[in-house]
């Protein structure tokens, strides 16, 4: 039995009258790729937002290893080694591609405002280190060509890649990808699949939301299906594909 890295226990989120996540119990295994699927509005993004601290749960518990994440702020959760991307890409379009990834190294150094303003020569070594490791991530994702372009000028596919590069710069142990392939063409989607394999081989646990079923079936070790904020099935991709409830949720009314 592989050991778990993240547990959701009776997790619940209400937005006004809308129950976006309803008593969700889920366990994610270390080192695996888990896909969270479900129709639009099922509550997948909300689950991500709950875990990464952008939304506070109404009830229930989120346990990362043995740490309760419930009341932690997003930046504190990032500091635990949890990275994420966003469904609607959020690159820092006012910065270059390289700088975007360099922000990902934010937590890897501690220098404050006074040090940065008054003694920049003391920081040169570290700046170079940050730049080099950011550059490495860009090479890994094939974005090094664009390093000095403004991030906002990249096409969507590359922006999604950049978001992942940035999250990887955090050196996460757990990575959330929200619809990484949406808006990508077939070739880009294939590249994304390969990239996710590569991330998995780097010993990073990946949890993703994705609508491209071919991609999901190809890369996931486990699939969890939710609808109306509730878990309706989970298992290997095969098992889930054959589950009548899932077929119902997707095809039925």
């Amino acid at each position: 039995m592989p050991n778990s890295i993240l547990r959701l226990e009776n997790l619940r989120k209400k937005f006004g009258g809308v129950v976006a996540v309803d008593d969700l119990n889920l366990v994610f295994n270390k080192g695996e790729v888990t896909a969270l699927i479900g129709p639009n509005g099922a509550g997948k993004t909300t689950v991500f937002n709950l875990i990464t601290g952008f939304v506070k749960p109404t009830a229930g518990t989120i346990l990362f290893k043995d740490i309760r994440l419930n009341h932690k702020k997003p930046h504190a959760i990032a500091a635990l080694g949890i990275g994420r991307t966003f469904q609607n890409v959020q690159v820092f379009s006012n910065m270059t591609v390289l700088e975007n990834v360099m922000v990902g190294r934010h937590l890897r150094s501690r220098n404050g405002m006074l040090m940065s303003a008054f003694l920049p020569p003391m920081l040169r070594r570290e700046e170079n280190r940050i730049r080099a490791s950011a550059q490495e991530r860009l090479v890994l994702l094939g974005l090094d060509r664009y390093a000095h372009l403004p991030a906002g000028s990249l096409p969507l596919g590359n922006q999604r890649m950049l978001e992942i590069a940035r999250a990887l710069a955090l050196e996460p142990t757990l990575l959330f990808l929200d619809e990484p392939a949406s808006g990508l063409n077939a070739r880009e989607t294939m590249a994304m699949g390969e990239l996710i394999h590569k991330i998995k081989s780097m010993n990073i646990t990946v949890i993703l939301v994705e609508h491209d079923m071919e991609l999901v079936m190809d890369i996931s070790d486990r699939v969890a299906v939710i609808n109306f904020g509730r878990l309706i099935a989970q298992g290997t991709p095969k098992e889930v594909q054959l589950n009548p409830d899932v077929i119902n949720a997707y095809l039925g009314t």
Binding site: H75, Q90, N111, M113, E127, R166, L170
Partner: protein, 338 residues
């Protein structure tokens, strides 16, 4: 990018070195000293607006805090101007923390209203607390600054000292921008959510930058007090704060050089306008300084509508397009092949 900024500082230093020789005239030197004060405040304000994406329409109040602290402590208690300036800085920083704590935790621009409210309160206090601030008639007899035994008593000396501080302020700001902290700030401006997801502590960083910009403003206020040697509530009204925002926005929010050039430009504008009004008088058109407000508002509106990145970046982009067109015509097409 980084190199360019330091070259820019070099250019400013060179310009400062030769300016008194070129200007000669004491009056215009004085104008440039006031411009220095605006440049200093706007450099700090730009860090807040352009890099942290927050707007303060009460920065005049931080200037007032610096100016009044300096004035009160030196004239009433006989403290040294430098100690008084330090106290002003501490007070301004404290107020900034106090204001930042509630507003910066919130998403959005509550800071704008909080600073506007704060500026109004400061103005009310400056007028009403007669015992401390001298009320509407203000405080006179503020001593001049002394530096290593030199009294800053000529406009040339003041000019060099004040612009030296501006250069130092620019240098610190540029250092900051090209550091981990600066990148964090830019990231906050780009996307708060994404910045937070990478471990940037948004609320704390925003408060820090508000404090920093308040410190810039407070120093500028102290310097103002020690230059004009007399202060009253007049120059610290809300309109001055709005003017500072205008300077930053006109030059360009997202670039320290934009804010700097905006501050310089708009500080010199009244001179240009009075020059223009003399010229217009020969055509029998009467120009009144009352129109200044209108002109500032008009400039701000036009820039925000048509050149939101500001004059500085707008013009440099325009130049770039012109150059790249020339290169295209010059047969450099191969470089543009995909």
């Amino acid at each position: 990018m980084k190199i360019k900024d330091y070259v820019g500082i070099g250019i400013v230093m060179a310009a400062v070195a030769v300016a008194p020789k070129l200007v000669g005239n004491e009056y215009y030197l004085g104008v440039l000293i006031f411009a220095a004060l605006n440049c200093l405040t706007c450099t700090g304000l730009c860090l807040l607006m352009g890099y942290a994406g927050q707007i303060s329409i009460g920065h005049g109040a931080f200037i007032a805090v610096g100016a009044y602290t300096s004035a009160v402590l030196t004239t009433k208690l006989g403290w040294s101007p430098w100690t008084a300036m330090g106290c002003g800085v501490i007070l301004a920083a404290g107020i900034a923390v106090f204001m930042g704590l509630p507003t910066m935790r919130l998403k959005g621009h509550y800071l704008a209203m909080a600073t506007l409210g704060f500026a109004s309160i400061i103005h009310i206090v400056a007028v009403a607390a007669v015992d401390v601030t001298g009320g509407p008639s203000g405080i006179t007899g503020i001593p001049r600054l002394q530096l290593f035994g030199f009294v800053l008593n000529s406009d040339t000396r003041n000019f060099y000292f004040y612009w030296g501080i501006v250069v130092a302020g620019l240098l610190l700001a540029v250092n900051l921008i090209h550091s981990r902290v600066g990148r964090g700030l830019q990231a906050i401006h780009g996307s708060e959510d994404a910045a937070a997801s990478l471990g940037v502590n948004i609320a704390v960083d925003k408060i820090k930058v508000l404090v920093l910009s308040a410190v810039y403003a407070s120093i500028s206020g102290s310097l103002y007090a020690h230059y004009v040697l007399f202060i009253d509530p007049g120059p610290f009204d809300v309109m001055h704060s709005v003017l500072l925002v205008t300077m930053v926005a006109v030059g360009g929010l997202h670039n320290i050089w934009g804010a700097f050039s905006g501050a310089l430009l708009l500080s010199l504008l009244p001179e240009g306008l009075s020059f223009l009004s003399e010229y217009l008088q020969t055509f029998d058109i009467r120009y009144r300084t009352d129109y200044d407000t209108l002109i500032y508002g008009g400039i701000l509106l036009l820039i925000m509508l048509f050149l939101p990145e500001g004059l500085f970046e707008g013009l440099s982009r325009l130049l770039k397009t012109v150059f790249s067109l020339r290169r295209k015509w010059g047969g450099g097409l191969a470089r543009h092949a995909e």
